[in-house]
């Protein structure tokens, strides 16, 4: 069989290259606008300076250790969200009275800007990692609960009928049909939750000048080290992207069928 040549736009690397080139192009445009004094260099640093500052923040500012601190906080909060959120979602599904009592509150929790309540958490948990973790946990809990509940509720009627026709017990029905059917939705909840955890951890570290990457950005900004600040922000974005790529891999690995 003659192999047909894949068109350029259909290749795997084409969109990636376009994305990267767009990014570089924006950098070049800003570089030009700043050098031509159309934009103010005191507010926006030169992209080339930001690039150069990467090395400095890695060597001088201990960025790797700080990444470790932030990653620890994100993972602890994220895992706590799963451990508490999934069973809570199941509970809400199983007991109608609990659902009616709590669902609206949890939905409200998802929408509330909890980070603003950080002084309260500081008083309760002290000025340390615990506070950061607890705030991130509170922030990330609701999506896991709500998406678990949604996944269970949206299990297709016919699959439940298959279970009934096979005389399955309630436990079998849960473990063999309801839960596996809800897994894609639960994963969506986890992904949302961990995104919230990352935002909350970096945000709280920045706000209370505490711990990992958020504090670094705060420090650099206070020193008015603009290239360093932007490099720090760039580093956080890079770490987040890698983090979510890994999360997506795990998700695909766990559910090869979908």
């Amino acid at each position: 069989m003659a192999s047909r040549k894949t068109p350029l736009v259909a290749t795997h690397w084409f969109p990636l290259t376009v994305g990267a080139l767009t990014f570089v192009a924006i950098g070049v445009i800003f570089e030009y606008l700043l050098r031509a004094d159309i934009l103010n260099r005191y507010i926006i640093p030169l992209p080339s300076d930001v690039l150069a500052a990467f090395e400095r923040i890695v060597v001088e500012e201990g960025v790797l250790t700080r990444t470790g601190v932030s990653a620890f906080e994100v993972l602890t909060a994220g895992i706590a969200c799963i451990v508490v959120g999934v069973p809570l979602g199941v509970l809400l599904y199983r007991f109608d009275i609990v659902r009616r009592a709590l669902e609206d509150w949890i939905a409200a929790l998802a929408a509330a800007p909890i980070v603003l309540a950080f002084p309260l958490f500081l008083v309760l948990f002290g000025r340390g990692s615990t506070t950061v973790i607890v705030i991130a946990f509170t922030y990330g809990l609701a999506p896991v609960v709500l998406k678990t509940l949604e996944g269970l509720i949206e299990t297709r009627r016919v699959l439940i009928n298959v279970g009934k026709s096979l005389n399955m017990s309630e436990m079998q029905m849960f473990w063999k049909i309801l839960f596996p059917s809800a897994i894609p939705s639960i994963f969506t909840g986890i992904r949302l939750s961990w995104t919230f955890c990352v935002i909350a951890v970096i945000g709280v570290e920045f706000l209370v000048n505490l711990g990992g990457l958020g504090q670094l950005i705060n420090d650099l900004a206070e020193r008015y080290d603009m290239p360093g600040t932007y490099a720090g922000i760039g580093f956080v974005i890079l770490v987040s992207v890698i983090f979510f790529i890994i999360l997506e891999w795990i998700e695909k690995w766990l559910q090869p069928a979908r």
Binding site: R156, V158, L159, N161, V162, K164, S165, L166, N167, M168, Q172, K176, I177, P180, S181, I183, Q255, P256, A257, R258
Partner: protein, 287 residues
């Protein structure tokens, strides 16, 4: 393995000709006293061992209600549905159900879907895989054991569901319009497959359908239902030779049976259509 399997299935069943499923004066009403709707109205017929019976009727004749009652998913009804002198009021192990909607488990491979009922019963993995493979072969899906439903066509998924139901050795195979979502050609070919399996296993089968050609192609007898409330209008014998294939569709006898049953059905179907239109008109006037 294959022959042993088939023999044991036959050996476990009583002689052909005995009614295995008796539907006796079944009535099912939905709703409160004032707004009660009778879906199934004094329906009686039976299905003999090894026989293929189709229940046909227009939409709204209570076919699906009947399916749910026989499958044990609707426990409360008047009259009796009997298997082995036992009244059905919940799912019965002798009945294997195939649903109209696609009902494979998307998170399980084909073989794990088919072996599912055996897994529930605690059958060892190697044995349940052997038996699952046998039925996967029977529905013509050899080589697809490791695939997932998302990688299969609609017709293939329905065959997986049929294999999953057959793996439990049900005495009665109960199917609710299993090919409704498929195109006509696939439907005819799957009809061949069903006929072949039914002949090989001497499988007692009750098919719920609204498709005339499908009913005539597959059945020994056809129960024609009236539009709401669903009553038995007539029970027609289909004396087409067995073994049968979809070639029969071209024969004069086939055309004769289709015409005869359509004669019975036309009045019911048009009554159903008129009532639906009236309701729609009334809704528009009031809404």
């Amino acid at each position: 393995m294959t022959s042993v399997e088939t023999k044991s299935r036959q050996a476990g069943k009583p002689d052909t000709g005995q009614p295995v499923l008796i539907i006796d004066d079944v009535v099912k009403t939905f709703g409160d006293a004032e707004e009660a709707v009778t879906a199934v109205d004094h329906v009686s017929f039976n299905v003999k061992q090894g026989e293929f019976v189709a229940v046909i009727g227009p939409s709204g004749c209570g076919k699906s209600t009947l399916f749910n009652i026989i499958g044990g998913l609707l426990g409360e009804y008047d009259g009796n549905v009997m298997i082995d002198d036992e009244r059905i009021s919940g799912p019965h192990p002798a009945v294997g159900m195939v649903f109209q909607e696609e009902s494979t488990f998307p998170w399980r491979s084909v073989i794990d879907n088919v072996a599912f009922p055996l897994e529930l019963r605690g059958v060892a993995k190697s044995e349940r895989y052997d038996r699952a493979r046998h039925f996967i072969g029977m529905v013509g899906l050899d080589g697809f054991e490791k695939r997932f439903p998302s990688q299969l066509s609609g017709g293939m998924k329905q065959r997986v569901s049929i294999a999953r139901t057959l793996v439990s050795n049900p005495r009665i195979l109960l199917m609710d319009e299993p090919f409704a979502a498929l195109d006509e050609q696939t439907r005819l070919l799957l009809g061949d497959k069903i006929t072949q399996i039914q002949q090989e296993l001497k499988q007692t089968t009750l098919l719920i359908t609204h498709n005339l050609t499908e009913a005539v192609q597959l059945s020994d007898r056809i129960v024609v239902m009236t539009y709401r409330p669903g009553k038995v209008k007539r029970i027609a014998d289909i004396n087409l030779q067995r073994p049968r294939t979809s070639d029969v569709v071209g024969s004069d006898a086939f055309g004769h049976y289709v015409a005869e049953i359509w004669n019975d059905l036309r009045e019911e179907a048009s009554r159903g259509m008129q009532e639906t239109e009236q309701v729609a008109r009334a809704d528009r006037r009031h809404g």
